[in-house]
Symmetry: C2
Subunit: 232 residues, 2 copies
């Protein structure tokens, strides 16, 4: 059963702009899909065939050069929107970092539905504007920050964005301790660094008592203020 009624992100996704009748209509053109960690939903350069909402899990948006260098250009969390509506080819691939559940729509169907529902388009516009702001802030990191600043900024942003993942209504404070949805290589691909540099910065931050690393995939922020200072 895949009704929107029990949807985990029902009140946070763009669907929240719709009344129950509209939700039912949207439900007829969407379908649920699960993805395993590492599985791709959309490939770079292909025609934009589908769009989706993330219900659960974390996905990456990435591009690369012909000679194999990769850059992660965005990370998508539950309730967020994926894909490129209104024509054009997708300029980046979409791949699950963790096991994930998404609600996918044929792009053409979604486009038509959206054009008939200005409230949905408005929500999409607000999200796209917010995502553009976030992406531009990330450019400062890529263009001007040192490796240490990049890693510190990364951990702080991650803590913040992981926070509301499982709370429906109230705002949760950023957790001090969390599980990384990224491998070291993926962190490097987000930050425009190499895996070795990321690893060295992790151990340095740990050595300075700003963070703790209970295991490969877990991080605890010990000194939030100190880490913020490192973030530049």
């Amino acid at each position: 059963m895949s009704s929107c009624d029990q949807c985990l992100v029902r009140n946070r996704a763009i669907c929240s702009s719709l009344d129950s009748g509209e939700i039912a209509a949207l439900n007829t053109i969407g379908r649920r899909r699960t993805l395993q960690a590492g599985e791709s939903l959309i490939w770079e350069g292909e025609d934009s065939l589908l769009v989706a909402n993330v219900i659960e899990g974390v996905l990456k948006l990435s591009t690369g050069t012909e000679d194999g260098r990769e850059q992660i250009v965005g990370v998508v969390y539950p309730s967020e929107f994926i894909g490129r509506p209104f024509g054009g080819t997708t300029s980046h691939g979409v791949t699950a970092l963790t096991d994930a559940r998404v609600c996918v729509f044929n792009r053409t169907d979604f486009d038509a539905f959206a054009r008939e529902h200005p409230a949905l388009e408005h929500k999409l516009l607000e999200r796209t504007l917010a995502e553009l702001d976030r992406t531009r802030r990330w450019m400062l990191l890529l263009g001007r920050k040192s490796a240490g600043e990049r890693v510190a900024s990364f951990l702080l942003e991650l803590a913040e964005r992981l926070a509301p993942a499982h709370c429906e209504v109230q705002l949760m404070p950023a957790p001090r301790r969390f599980t990384l949805p990224f491998s070291r290589q993926q962190i490097a691909d987000v930050l425009g660094l190499t895996i070795e540099t990321v690893s060295r910065q992790f151990t340095r931050l740990k050595g300075e008592g700003l963070i703790d690393l209970p295991s490969r995939r877990e991080v605890e922020i010990v000194d939030m203020a100190g880490l913020s200072a490192e973030a530049g």
Copy 2:
């Protein structure tokens, strides 16, 4: 006189989604403004008070760190939209690179107008999506490309985006020769490099016969294919 009728970008700006009655209504809440090169229209971090369309000239969007490092996160050309509608504070400053003319709106007025005109919001959404794609492509450059690749990519993109600047209808091919709207420092701020590195790459590309530099502010692309190869 500032009627939309003679507007240079009338058919390319988001206004093109409106009929003549709507244009007239929009005209009542907008006003023309000229900017000198170097003059700012919006400052980083302030509340979003106004939005605008660029009629003529080139503007930069930029952020910086507390200690003075700067990153240009976007460049805006005629017919393009500026500012952050629908709440929030502006995450980047907007400054004219050349003398410019813009059509500015009080943000609150514009928001209200836009919400009543879904076609306008749709156009804005399409542009925002396109800008997000472009920004993400730029992240690959900042995160993974060498200085030489960055400069070559920069010149190619600039040639392309400068092309339609003064032609209303038909598509013009990218010009081989053009005037830079940027100082060397500003190029460095776009590319995440220093002014010296930019300068060295310019002279190298010139030495290899890929470009010519008739003067500080002028560039001629001599070998387009070769430059594309350098762009990675």
